[in-house]
Every structure is written in C-alpha cells, then in structure tokens.
Symmetry: C2
Subunit: 551 residues, 2 copies
C-alpha cells in the first residue's frame, strides 16, 4: 500500500514556514510522535520510525476469527470491497438475485443507494408532512392533545351534512405523530351513546381503512366542535381525482385533501370521461380486491361504511383506503332507534349497491354511467370490453332484489387473488432489499459523528492535550488516512469505497493492521482496527462523561 | 443562542502557549479573521467583531420561501426539530400514524433508526451472504461466469438421482450478484432437447418459486458436470427443518443448505412429533396459500413441480418458495417420450397428491401421518382440531380417483385470502416507514464525508492555504459549530438533533443565518446556510478537479 499511497504531509513539508503570511490557522508540523499510552515496539527503517504495538495490545478486542494480514490494500472498486473481517453482517452484499431481476437495469446500477422511484415517492410524502403550517389566525395553537394544526381543506364531509367542516393536519403533543383531524363546526353531540359505535370503529384495524383514532368535542375553536381524529396518509388522492376529475396530472406533491374532492355528481366530472381511455382490467381488479377487503372488514365488525363513494376513498401509491369512516354514524345517530340490526343490514346492502356503482363507474370511466337510465348500457359496455367475471360482479352487486354479502364476489375474483398476492410479495422483496442497502448508512453516519466530535476538539475542560495525544492522536491520524490520502503524484485520492471499507473495519474492530503516518512523514504507527475502535470508544465515552458532568 | 452556547475557544485561551511542551500538533490560535472572498460588513460590539455578509451575498441560492430568523436556537429534542426551511422532503417526519400503531411501543421509541427485528433479520442474511468462502482445494476459482464458489451442501438433490451432487453459493463475474449453483457430478446430458423445458422454467417468475436462471455443462470441476443456477435466498430453512426435524431452534444464522435437509421419511423426524404442539391454523393457511400460489403458476406454465416435498421447499422469514425446480425434468428427460401432455397431466396430479400429503403432515406435525395406513386417522385428527375447510382441502387433494386442479381449493381458502393480503399490506407499510427513516442517513453520511475530505486537509497540490482560507475556513468553523459546541459552563454539548438539523439546513442551503465564532473568540462570522452550501460545493468541486487532474 505504501508504495502507492502516501500521506498529505509530503507536500506540506515543502512549504514549511512556521510564520506563514497566511493569517488563517495552520497546523504546526509535529516533530516527533506523541506519547502513546500503550506499549510500543519501535524500529527505524530507512529514516522512518515504525511503531508497532506489542503483543499485549492485540488482546484489546475479543474476536474469534480474524484476518491479520494487511497486504490486501489495493485501489478497489466498490464491488470488490474486501469482506474478510469479523462482522460481515454489517455490509450490504449487493442486491439479491431475485430482486435485481425485478428492477430495470438502470435503477440497479445505483448500487449503494435507493431506487429512485421509491425514494422520490417517500421524499414527496415527507415533504407534504413537513410542509410549513399556514398562518391562519383562526386556528388555535393547541386543540386537546394536538398542536401545529394546518388546514388541509374546508369541504363538506358528507352530502347530508349541512354543517361547515374543516380538515386539519395536526401533531400529537406526546408522541409527535401527525394525524388528520376532521372538525364539524357548531356540532352538538345529542347523546354519548353513539360512542359505542365510535368504539367499534376505533377497534377496526385494516390496511384498506383509514384508522379512526379518537373523537372529542371541544370549544377551543370558539364554538362547539366535534373533532374526529384519523391516521394521516400524506400524498393521497381521492378515487374521484385520480380516475374521474379533469385535473392536471398529479405530480405526487398535491395535497391529498386540498380541493379535488368534489361531490359524486359534480358536473365537470361527468363530461370529459368519453375522451379518457378505459382502465386495464388488472387495475380494476386490484381496486375491487382492496375495496372488498376493506368492506368485508367493516361489515364483519358489525358496521357499515355509508360513505362508499369516490370522494371518500383515497389512493396512496397503489393502496386504496376508505376514509371518513364513522362520520355518518355520529351525525345521524338516533338514540331512540329501534331494530339496530335491521338498520345495519339495510346500510350494508346500500354499501354493496354503492360498491357496484363505483366499480361500474371505474370500468366505464364515467360517473354518469351509474345513473338509473344509463346502467343497462353501461353494463353492456363492460361486457364488451372486460371479462365476464367483472360483469358478473356488477350484476351481483347492483341487484337490489336479493340480500347479498361482500364475500359473494370472491368466486368471481378467483385466481386474481393470487396475482395480487404475488405483486405484494414482490413489493416486500424490493423494499427489503432497499432497506438492506440503506440501513448501513445510518451506522456509518453515527461513526463519522463520533469521529467528528473527537477530532480537532480544542479542549476537554482544562485538558489542552485532550484531542491531540494518545488515543485521540491515533484517531486524528486515522481521520487523515480516511479522508486525506493522496496518490503517489500528490493528487487527492477520493474513493468512497476506501472510506466505507475503513469505517466498516473500524466498526467491526478487526485485527487487520493499518499504517498511519504522521503529517511530517517521520513516524508511522502500525495499529489494528481493534485498537482504533478501542480508542474511539474510550475517547467518546470520556466526551459523554464530560458532557454529563453536571447534569 | 449565544447566551446559552459558546465556542470551545473560551477554554483554549486560558492555556494559550505557542510553544507548548506537548509534542502533538496544536492548532495555532488565529489572531484575526481570514480574508473572506465575499463582501462583508463588520461591526464591533463589546470587543467582539461581528462580520455580516452584505445583501449581495443573500442571492447565492434561489429559494422561494425561507425563514431568515435565527432566534430559534434552543436545546431541542429530536421530535421538535425546526423544519421551517426549504427542503422539508429531506427530513424524516417521524413514523406514520398507521404504522406506529402496528409496532410495539418499545420499538417505536428508537425513533431515528430501524426496527430491531427487521434490522437483525437483514443483518443475519447479509452475514450469511458475506460469510468467508471455504478454502476447499477441490473448488475451482471460476466456473463459467461465476467466481468465489462456496460449498453449501453435498446432499442428493433428488431421491431417484444416484449421482453425487453439490450446492454452492457463487458470485456472477459481471454483475457481482450472488447465486446458488446446483451441480450434478458426472452427469452427461443425453439430449439438448430438454433445454426447451429449461426455457419454460427460466421464464417462470413467481414470488413463491426459487427462480431458475440458467443451466450449463462444464468440465471445470474435472468431470462432466451439469450446473443449474438459481436465485440465492440466504437465511432460509427447509420446511422439513422448520416444522419437522428435531434440530435446535434456528437463530437466523444457520446456513439454509447446511445439513438439515434430510430425506422425506427420515427416521429421527418420525419420532419426536408427538411432543410437538400443533400449528395455529392461520399459519397452516398462510403456507397453503403460498404453496398453492406457486403450484398454480407452475401448472399454468405447462410444467410440473415433481419435487413437492418438505426437503425441497424453503422458508425465508414468512415466505415459502419451491426450490430445485426443473431438476427432475432435466435428469429424467426422455427425448423419445410420446404423449408429453399425458405425462405432464399425470405429473401435475402427482403434485396435487404431494401437496395434500404435505399439508396433512404439517397439520399433524408428523411425516408418519401421510403413510398409507395412517392417512385415515390423520385426517380425523385434522377434523377434530381444525376447520372443515382444511379437512375439505385434504380430501380434495388426496382423492386420486378424480382429476383435480389446484384452483379447486380456492373456495376452501375463501376469505383467508383477505387475511393474507392484509398481512402483506401491513408489512409493506412498516417497511416503507423504515425506509423513510433510513434513506436520509445516506444523505447525511455523504455530507459528512465531503466535509471530512475538505476540513484539515493539509494541502491541495502546492497551495498551502487551501484548507484554511476563504471558503474552507468557513467550513472549518462550521465543523466546529457542528461538533465542538460547548455549553455555557464549558461542557461538551453532544446533541444528535443539533447535528442532524444543521446538516439538513446545510444540504437545503437555507437562508437561515448561523453565527460561527473563531477559535480565539475574537471574531464572529454571520453566514447563511446557503453560503456554507456554496462553500462546500465549491471546495469539493476543487478537490474532485484536483483528484481528476491527470486522469
């Protein structure tokens, strides 16, 4: 290694002048090695002093199988990182073969970092969540356990609900988690009995339903408001805006609740659909499977959706979720209602009819298609363009003469369940592979933070020698080796895999040796990564102890 | 901020001595600020000189909405990181509400890093993939396009196959991807016609099947060998070792192919099963769904599995996959075979019988249960302990008197498809949230690497002033601010959120100002993060240019 790489100090020497005209701080070249706190064997070869730790120092870390050869240093490409040290689990071994073939070749070449699409998706969602709170004067600073309210929309939550309503994003004061708050203005709860049905909704947990978390009344807004707290799914669209509305293509940055949620029969939606091409059948089936999955969970819990329309169903990526659940149950609650079960059964049948209409509208790509006089010709359109299974589902769901159940459509979905399962499993595989790549960056980042906190630290309390002697000195030379290595002809040697490899060896504390040269090139320290790791742990513990000093 | 936090320089001053007895390098205190390359307005307040960039410098970055107040510095908890700057997408906003409730509370508290279970799982798998190659002298260095072969097992691949065989992990020379190589020793391919069926297997891509990638013959091993290349799934177990064999509990580090794969009717497996408790029914259903999904894909592709037994089906986490596919087709290939379709149909019916036996064995937790004289009582055991659907599936599959199809069991699986879909969607949600956390670490890591390459760099070619003047000087003071800030009473101030926040602002290049103090505390530089970002980009480009110098 030494024949190929040498330290920066070589060039520094040529310009040696303690009283440089340059006013910025210069690091004084250091004439002799610092006192090392461990036993050292030294040797002078051709004018250069080599320091070797004595055998005792090899006991620093308890490693079972280690590689003690240090002749493996070459200028390596990242695909050839030498892995023969103790903690191979800490190195991402490259994409798994079953995943690499799922992705396009271009994406895989970005070997060490995340797939762009997934990354941009997550970035966009993070951006929406972190977007700056609007400064409306009307919004209180805190509402019960929630702060940092941000108005998302002010649209009516339900067609039959004449009250104004608002939707906010808000942060929970204790957990810091962001939620979606739906507020009904000027709403007085007639009876707390409806909390029974709210409790049912709170218990219903399903990946195709936006979870209802809690319901409370509050006067913080200056009126009697009812607030319903849901999970927040940033970057969502409604089914209406995704498949029907004539809005510009979403770029992923559109706020889920801002503006597009027009009522079911909105005029502008009715017209443009002729120009829209029909959806691929597999996309419709994916929606049907998810909608039926959520609806099955709702009905099984002894509840009814009651807001099964494209303004109340949201799409996040490929996931479909029922939103605004339970609102109808709260505001139409009648404590004197007899025959609760009959009412529920009726509502569930209405849900199934609504599901049929929604699927028909999706298949025809037109909200008009579900109007009474259009249904016949719409179903015929579906028969012409799609499989008989899809037509049969519509006939089953739209037939209000018989009592139906959501599970009756399962035979018509048939083997498409397998297709959906395969797609989800593939998604899990890709995500797991991305995670394997990314998780190691956090560890490397923390190592660099530790080194940063130690190196060049000018003090530790009154001990001026703290950052420049003993353990810290070795870490400083290691830092030079890590970042400031130059090539034989004096050019900076910028090699990401060198840095990753050295940090991994440091973290693993291998018995592999590294030659650290002082800046004046007069002394060479030969230390193992195990010793460097010990130095780092030691120095950082001292720092932590000092910072805790008076706390 | 300044009243609470001050720079490390304070303590350094008390020990000012240019010719310290300490031999390690000391940073010379710097009497006056360095020449800044931009226009500066300066002001002296109580003996401290404040430098402000003039208005012109504010134009450095084109930011639309920025926060220019710098009075928001407080000792902040990570949940309160100030996000009012330009690139909020680059900050993980904390776990999503729908995910936080899926995880146990203890796991969520590790807010910024990955869930332990998932992390350990991935670490274990990485470790297996990266494990050191064994040094057997018999293994050639390269076999066709593969190198770094590592013997995983030497067990027979098929009960009817008398030839010795070996399984290796190997790395593809071009892509660096690891694959699993199954080698049949001394095997001569009778006819290349069987490559037609191999092509069918190569095209069959399914998340419940170990993908066959290629087949080749080679003399590199010193004999005529046939090598079948599959995807490699580290950390897998066979169904046999997971559910039947009396082996010690796996710790996730057991090699998938090492040793446990005993033949179907191995004695030691027959005995202990009485003591083993029955599996929960939902676990059996998850296996049935996955096995039927894979088998359906195989049969649909005009193929038959032919090795549907617990030694040839592997489990990775919760995923079930058929392994060793196609081997039977290759070694029993008869080019003179008439009635290919009849044979295929027979083989598919055999697959269904084998699937039935496997499910029965799983439900009874005993391989003995599928022996002819035991089947009756085994099915009765299932009837007593499990649902009638499970019993009906067994009766359907075990009935060899009628022609059956794998899709016939779908109605008996029924709504359990929904359960499986819900579980997979939940897994996707958790993984996506983990990814959102981890992906930012890579970005922060790269920023620190850039800073590390610039700061304290002793040279750039012959320019001794490189790392200590102008842009680099500001970055050096920023580094001090980032890592070396001390509290009022001089203790190190170690705060991860301070570092994350500052790096994020640097990356975003916000117009927020930061006060950087020289080490002698005599000068204060007031700069925006936008300017610091400009400095970083500038300095790093120079470094890259210098490193490319002669290339």
């Amino acid at each position: 290694m030494f024949s190929r790489l040498c330290f920066a100090g070589r060039n520094l020497l040529r310009n040696e002048s303690p009283q440089s005209t340059n006013t910025s701080p210069r690091i004084t070249p250091q004439p002799s090695p610092p006192p090392i706190t461990t036993n050292i064997h030294q040797e002078n070869v051709g004018g250069t002093t080599y320091f070797y730790p004595t055998a005792a120092n090899h006991q620093l870390t308890p490693s079972s199988t280690v590689n003690t050869t240090d002749n493996t240093f070459v200028h390596i490409a990242s695909s050839q990182i030498n892995l023969s040290y103790t903690h191979p689990g800490h190195v991402y071994p490259g994409p798994a073969s079953h995943v690499i073939n799922m992705q396009s070749k271009a994406q895989v070449s970005a070997a060490f970092f995340m797939q762009d699409e997934l990354r941009n998706d997550i970035l966009a969602r993070n951006e929406i969540v972190n977007s700056i709170e609007n400064d409306s004067q009307d919004i209180p600073l805190e509402v019960e356990n929630y702060h940092s309210l941000c108005l998302l929309e002010s649209l009516p939550l339900h067609p039959k609900l004449p009250l104004p309503s608002s939707t906010y994003r808000a942060t929970h004061a204790v957990t810091g988690v962001k939620y979606c708050l739906r507020r009904l203005h000027g709403f007085r709860l007639q009876s707390t009995k409806c909390m029974q049905v709210v409790d049912k909704w709170k218990k219903l947990q399903h990946t195709n339903i936006v979870q209802l978390r809690e319901v409370f009344t509050t006067k913080t807004f200056g009126d009697n408001s009812l607030v319903i707290v849901y999970d927040y799914h940033p970057g969502s669209q409604t089914l209406l805006s995704k498949y029907f509305a004539s809005v510009p293509e979403t770029n992923g940055y559109t706020d889920p609740f801002a503006g597009e949620a027009r009522p079911f029969s909105h005029k502008s939606s009715l017209h443009r659909t002729a120009a829209t091409s029909l959806l691929p059948e597999n996309e419709i089936w994916s929606i049907i499977i998810q909608l039926s999955a959520g609806l099955r969970a709702i009905h099984q819990a002894g509840l009814a959706c009651r807001t099964l329309d494209p303004t109340k169903i949201i799409v996040t990526g490929k996931r479909i979720r029922y939103s605004c659940v339970g609102i109808s149950d709260i505001f139409t609650f009648d404590p004197n209602q007899q025959n609760q079960l009959t009412v529920l059964d009726h509502q569930q049948q209405e849900d199934l009819l609504a599901l049929g209409k929604l699927i028909l509208a999706l298949a025809c790509r037109s909200l008009q298609s579900v109007q009474r006089d259009q249904i016949q010709s719409s179903v015929e359109l579906v028969s012409r363009h799609y499989s008989s299974d899809l037509r049969n589902i519509l006939i089953c769901l739209l037939n209000t003469n018989t009592r139906r159940s959501v599970t009756e459509i399962m035979p018509m979905i048939g083997a498409r369940f397998y297709v959906q399962l395969d797609a989800l499993q593939a998604q899990c595989d890709i995500q797991e592979d991305e995670l394997a790549k990314e998780m190691e960056n956090g560890r490397l980042y923390r190592l660099l933070v530790k080194l940063g906190c130690i190196n060049e630290r000018p003090e530790l309390n009154l001990d001026v020698t703290w950052s420049e002697t003993g353990d810290r000195y070795m870490l400083k030379l290691f830092r030079d080796y890590l970042f400031h290595t130059v090539t034989e002809d004096g050019r900076p040697w910028l090699n990401q895999s060198h840095i990753v490899q050295c940090l991994n060896k440091l973290d693993a504390g291998t018995m592999e040796k590294v030659q650290l040269m002082s800046r004046d090139e007069q002394s060479v320290l030969v230390v193992t990564y195990a010793e460097l790791k010990h130095c780092l742990d030691q120095a950082f513990s001292e720092l932590v102890a000092a910072s805790d000093g008076t706390v």
